[in-house]
Amino acid sequence: MRFRAKIVDLACLNHFSRVVNTVARLAKTCTLRLTADKLYFILSDKVANGGVSVWCELCQGNFFDEFQMEGVAAEHNEIYLELVPENLSRALKTAQNAKTVKIKLTNKHCPCLTVAVELPSLSSSSRIVTHDIPVGVIPRRLWNDFREPGVPDFDVSIYLPVLKTMKSVVERMKNLSNCIVIEANLSGEMNLKIETDLVSVTTHFKDLGNPPWASDDECQSSAQGRDLESMAEARIDIKKLLQLLAGQQVNPTKALCSGCLRQMN
């Protein structure tokens, strides 16, 4: 099992750091899956109510100048590591003006992901900072737990409004209720609602646009049959939603929200 990777470009480093920061804000520990050409940050929280599940897939070529990986075995050329993303985030935080950043799997007193940062200095030789992040190697028999989640069976899929706007709306609502209802339809309309004994507040978003999903004929026909105006609704824990929105550092071009239709009688 070997892993060595190098980032040389500052913009790539910055982007990678922001992805790691986002993951770090969502989970205390997560799984890092390494394949020949991708990295995945996975958190599959099996909690029934309101657990956060994260699946983050990165193409290594977008970030790394060099990327060498040898998995546990030839037929299973992958590595699964358990780590605390906050550590990785901290290691990258002060590396933002580095000449190079190397990440490799090492075995110091325990398996570690070593981040070696070469920093510019006024002297002839560069400053080197190394961070040894302890990791746990996840055995092959547990790899099935981390399979990619299938495309969810949803009824409505909609592009979210500007996340910053959405975050400030949800933050105000947090003080009034624990639960928030997200409603959306196929006409690009979305509502954020809270309801308490004393007050109910709804924020309406219009013209958001619905992403086209390549679906097989069955789904197509059911979509055609469905009323474009009818809302699919989901009730979620406000704090978890806020955690997701607050952690966003990646400035996505588009963020999607997909939900299941609930019978509204």
Binding site: V84, N87, R90, A91, T94, K108, H109, C110, S121, L122, S123, S124, S125, R127, I128, V129, T130, H131, D132, I133, P134
Partner: protein, 380 residues
């Protein structure tokens, strides 16, 4: 005592107070013929800092007549109160033109008066307590190793360590490289803590006089306070250290200002190795054992407050010892055990020695005491 500070020096004084506030809760003031000395010590007696402002730093410096011949007047004030006067450094710079400090022993008040723009004068009257001289006994001459670097280099080095980190290990590695590494306590599982290590090349330093393989572990928090001051004043910082367990002395030198920070270091000889070894220190050694070993001239002295002077026998005096030897350690052990409760035992830091100037009436202990200012003067 009466002194006046003008212009940019007011901000320097403010920054010095900020730096001292990172150390302890009380600010000790001592006007001497060499200048005004401000000092602080932390509650576990493992960190001591002193700023000596020479008379040239002031527009006017009048030490005043000491209460008793040969004695200096000393007092301490609450750090919080003194700091609040210099709380906002930007506004000090912008609005304060002159600062007057008046010490009136008879009135029991320390008066700090800020003369600001637009004719505004802010007068602060602080209550003080007379006290003993706060003085850690140390000697940079006794330190075998020293390093001098621009403060900026060291500030850039510590930025890689989290703000909450307590201890850092400085070591001299092969090839003249100096490393800083976060110290992981033995008790925590070694497999769980992230270890960060930074290597600095020899030529980043202005002076390197260290034996390879030496290392010391000290508290980062108090060091950061000094570093902030040094960086702002653009002064090179010198680190003097000796064997683990002996205090490390950090100094800044400037024509107008002498700054010393003395930090106790971990006496764990195993702190060199990367893999934490069970050196049996996980069970706490009894205080007596600790001190008999390492102690020699370093031990804790009780700091007495409100020296009555002239009335009755003073508490048992403590004497600084220069020569190590089991024979001498006995009388000291009693002293230590009284004061030890202040030291957090699990840290295994040695506490610094503080001299006491208590003598039944009469001349000061100058021969056996080491005055901070003179010590460093003697070096050069």
């Amino acid at each position: 005592m009466r002194c006046v500070i003008t212009g940019g020096n007011v901000k320097v004084l403010g920054k010095a107070v900020h730096s001292l506030s990172r150390i302890g809760d009380e600010l000790y003031l001592e006007p001497t013929e060499n200048g005004l000395s401000l000092r602080a010590v932390n509650s576990s007696r493992s960190a001591f800092a002193s700023f000596l402002f020479v008379p040239l730093f002031f527009q006017l410096y009048e030490r005043g007549s000491p209460p008793r011949a040969g004695q200096h007047f000393r007092c301490k004030v609450l750090m919080k109160s003194f700091l609040s006067i210099f709380r906002s450094l930007p506004s000090l710079e912008k609005t304060v033109g002159k600062c007057l400090i008046l010490l009136k022993p008879q009135a029991s008040r320390l008066v700090v008066q800020l003369h600001c723009k637009y004719g505004v004068t802010k007068t602060h009257n602080l209550a003080f307590q007379e006290c003993e001289r706060l003085q850690a006994v140390f000697s940079t001459r006794q330190c075998a190793n020293s390093l001098c670097a621009p403060a900026r280099v060291l500030a850039e080095a510590v930025v890689h360590f989290p703000a909450t980190l307590s201890e850092v290990t400085l070591s001299a590695g092969p090839g003249g490289k100096i490393s800083l590494r976060n110290y992981v306590e033995d008790e925590k599982e070694p497999g769980r803590t992230m270890v960060t290590e930074l290597w600095l090349a020899e030529d980043e330093f202005q002076e390197v006089a260290v034996a390879p393989g030496t290392c010391i572990t000290f508290c980062l928090k108090e060091f950061r306070g000094l570093l902030t001051f040094a960086e702002a004043s653009n002064l090179p910082l010198t680190i003097h250290y000796d064997a683990p367990g002996r205090p490390a002395v950090f100094t800044l030198d400037d024509p107008l200002l002498e700054v010393h920070l003395v930090l106790a270091t971990l006496s764990d000889p195993e702190s060199i190795s990367q893999s934490p070894t069970a050196n049996g220190a996980s069970e706490l050694p009894t205080p007596a054992d600790d001190f008999a070993d390492d102690l020699e001239s370093y031990m804790i002295a009780m700091e007495t407050s409100a020296y009555e002077g002239g009335s009755g026998a003073p508490p048992s005096p403590t004497f600084p010892l220069r020569t190590p030897g089991p024979a001498h350690s006995e009388p000291e052990e009693e002293e230590e055990e009284e004061a030890v409760p202040g030291t957090p035992p699990h840290k295994k830091f040695r506490s610094l020695f503080f001299g006491s100037v208590l003598t039944p009436g009469g001349p000061c202990l100058a021969p056996t005491q080491e005055v901070l200012a003179e010590d460093s003067d003697g070096e050069y």
